[in-house]
């Protein structure tokens, strides 16, 4: 079992290494001196309270916001590259709130995302048969779950070194949450994923490693299960009671988001 190790050695080199990453939006610092690694396999969860800088960390990795520090993808430094070059070098990004192009059709949304010479259209059609049927529909008229499928499909069309997935189950019905979780589990068999997720059921079901942010910094790294089993840690870092992450239950209960204080 590989962990998002900072101290211990891992069997394979990490796919993503952040060192002293800081980021700011409109001159205000939102991520400060964040250091962690993401192993080359499996799903690593990025956890923390609302507004702690998880989304900003993902955005900083691909340069959507101003950042400093070092970001290494598969051994290559990328922190000075433009966003589109980082993405082309093999990053799939599934943003918070899906961000599908509402006034483009589903087909256009997908075509726009194709960057490989041979995009994996078949895979996407197999995973999301729904989308094929709705390919001429404006993406803005889809349900939240369907939009999430489009957003995931845009990332899965290409061969990636890593997927950055931001709150994929946010605001979705329990049944759809399950489907999204299954899709992610399926995808994780071929590509490592850094996952921001508030639903601790989903985290328990999917994630192997966990990185916990607080106050814009990393306060905990380790195995996801160890973290989720420690009620005290959860209370302290996520501000929710451990009930939010009961062991063994299937994912899907809409969970109140971590302490919207």
């Amino acid at each position: 079992m590989s962990t998002p190790a900072d101290h211990r050695a891992t069997e394979a080199p990490p796919i993503l290494r952040l060192e002293g990453l800081s980021a700011s939006i409109a001159g205000q610092q939102v991520v400060e001196d964040v250091t962690f690694t993401v192993p080359a396999t499996g799903i690593t969860a990025l956890l923390g309270r609302n507004g702690v800088g998880k989304t900003s960390t993902l955005k900083a990795i691909i340069g959507l916001i101003d950042r400093s520090g070092s970001v290494e993808l598969d051994g290559e430094r990328i922190e000075k590259e433009a966003t589109f070059k980082i993405i082309r070098s093999g990053v799939g990004y599934v943003p918070e709130d899906r961000e599908v192009f509402a006034k483009l059709t589903v087909a256009e949304n997908l075509r726009l995302a194709e960057r490989d010479a041979a995009p994996r259209r078949q895979l996407v059609e197999d995973l999301f048969p729904d989308l094929l049927a709705r390919s001429a529909q404006m993406a803005g008229t889809l349900s939240g779950g369907q939009q999430q499928m489009v957003s995931l499909a845009r990332a899965l069309l290409n061969t990636n070194k890593i997927l950055l997935v931001d709150e994929p189950t946010k605001g979705l019905a329990p049944k759809i949450v399950g489907e999204v979780a299954e899709t992610l589990a399926e995808a994780a068999r071929t590509v490592p994923i850094l996952l921001v997720e508030q639903n601790l059921h989903v985290v328990r079901q999917l994630a192997e490693g966990a990185v916990v942010l607080s106050g814009g910094r990393v306060v905990h790294t380790g195995r996801a299960r160890d973290f989720l089993d420690d009620a005290d840690l959860i209370q302290r870092h996520l501000g929710v009671s451990a009930d939010a992450a009961p062991a063994g239950k299937p994912a899907g209960n809409p969970v109140e988001k971590g302490a919207a204080l």
Binding site: Q29, V30, N50, G51, G215, G216, L261
Partner: protein, 418 residues
């Protein structure tokens, strides 16, 4: 918040340092890092983009300002020649006229600074209020038999109403759309002046100032120095008022709105009303400047209500340095003198004898000013004052931590306006 930096490894302090207001809005995640409050300003007491200066230096700056004003007051009584800057010795009407123009433009630039530098409002319609002052007073003096001061009061009343109406509509949008909408309203004013309704505005020809009801000491070339002193008084008054507004509660609130509107709303202030207040104050001030401009020029010309004038003010503020009062003043003076000198240059024999490829651009002052402006925006984002400050800072630090060691305000302010 300093505890965070000391004990960064323990999460309890970090979460304790999380301001409650932020978590509630959820819009700007992760504002909990230490130092944030220092940079952004504590709620309700945001510094208006100013650098914290030791009181000693501030005092010295005020003293220098006072000495400068004193010198300017005495200037018409002295015989000072600045070849290349002034057309003649300082007591001559020509020089005083140019200097008075400089001071009025500097004052007008200050009112524009109030909009752009303080409230972050990029208006393209400021000339509407300047022009309303110019034409309002000219038309009232032309048509009503009342003395100067009541006429000015009446003009002021009209401007206050106008600014409220236009401001409350324009402020329904912000950023670039605000710029376009204010431009459109100003254009309507400009069109009305051009159309010459019932012969009141004089159309393209403009209006000559009717002097029947004016006090004698403000009329005629011999009294240019009185107008000069009046212009100086206006500049000083506008500077003091702008300083006062900036440091008032409304000024702080406006700066806070500029930086983060959402935050101010959370604090229970009405960003819309704060912006409207600044808009109206700025409009009223510039209309008074327009009235004095009318006296100085003894006439109203359509240009005083045109988009060109607003753009001129914008250029002055940016040349001087956005966000700085002195920048606005320096920009206004610098632009006015440069414009005047370039016009003289354009008509000089030296330029006329040049080959076309040099003669054509050099004989167009606005070409040179426009190009200069583009270069300043591209390469000197802090304008004249910002660059001077950076150079001073670099010298003081012995070239060590040069670059943007200080808070790089002008760019931030411009970003906020977007």
């Amino acid at each position: 918040m300093t505890t965070d930096t000391d004990t960064s490894s323990t999460d309890d302090t970090a979460s304790a340092g999380q301001p409650a207001a932020d978590g509630g809005t959820g819009r700007r995640p992760g504002k909990t890092n230490p130092g944030y409050d220092d940079a952004g300003g504590a709620p309700g007491a945001a510094p208006h983009g100013g650098r914290p200066r030791p009181t000693g230096r501030r005092l010295a700056a005020w003293a220098a300002g006072l000495a400068g004003v004193l010198l300017l007051v005495l200037l018409p009584l002295l015989n000072i020649s600045l070849p290349g800057v002034l057309p003649g010795p300082s007591y001559t009407p020509g020089s005083l006229q140019l200097l008075a123009m400089c001071m009025l433009m500097a004052a007008a630039a200050l009112t524009y600074h109030l909009l752009l530098g303080v409230a972050g409002l990029l208006s393209f319609g400021h000339a509407l209020y300047f022009g309303a002052g110019v034409y309002g007073l000219a038309i009232i003096l032309q048509n009503l038999d009342i003395p100067l001061l009541p006429a000015m009061g009446l003009t002021l009343l009209i401007v206050i109403v106008l600014a409220h109406v236009v401001g409350s509509i324009s402020l329904r949008v912000s950023g670039i759309p605000f710029a376009m909408v204010t431009l459109a309203f100003a254009q309507a004013g400009s069109v009305i002046v051009g159309r010459n309704p019932e012969g009141k505005t004089g159309g393209d020809e403009g209006l000559t100032l009717r002097t029947d009801n004016l006090p004698d000491f403000l009329v005629g070339v011999v009294n240019t120095r009185n107008l000069y002193w009046l212009a100086l008084a206006v500049l000083v008054a506008v500077f003091v008022i702008v300083t006062w507004v900036q440091s008032s509660r409304a000024g702080h609130a406006a700066a806070a709105v500029r930086e983060n509107e959402l935050r101010v709303r959370v604090l229970g202030l009405q960003p819309y009303l704060v912006k409207l207040l600044i808009f109206v104050v700025s409009a009223v001030l510039v209309s008074v400047i327009g009235m004095v401009f009318l006296l100085l020029q003894s006439g109203a010309v359509p240009r005083s209500m045109s988009a060109d004038l607003t753009i001129t003010l914008l250029v002055m503020v940016v040349l001087g340095g956005v966000g700085s009062r002195w920048g606005a003043v320096i920009g206004g003076v610098f632009y006015t003198i440069l414009d005047q000198r370039l016009t003289t240059l354009a008509n000089s024999e030296a330029v006329k004898s040049l080959p076309d490829i040099l003669r054509v651009p050099l004989s167009e002052p606005l070409f040179i000013l426009g190009t200069l402006f583009v270069l300043v925006v591209l390469f000197l984002p802090g304008g004249i004052t910002g660059t001077a400050e950076r150079l001073a800072l670099r010298r003081r630090r012995g070239n060590r931590g040069a670059g943007n060691g200080g808070t790089e305000t002008p760019r931030d302010i411009l970003e906020d306006a977007a």
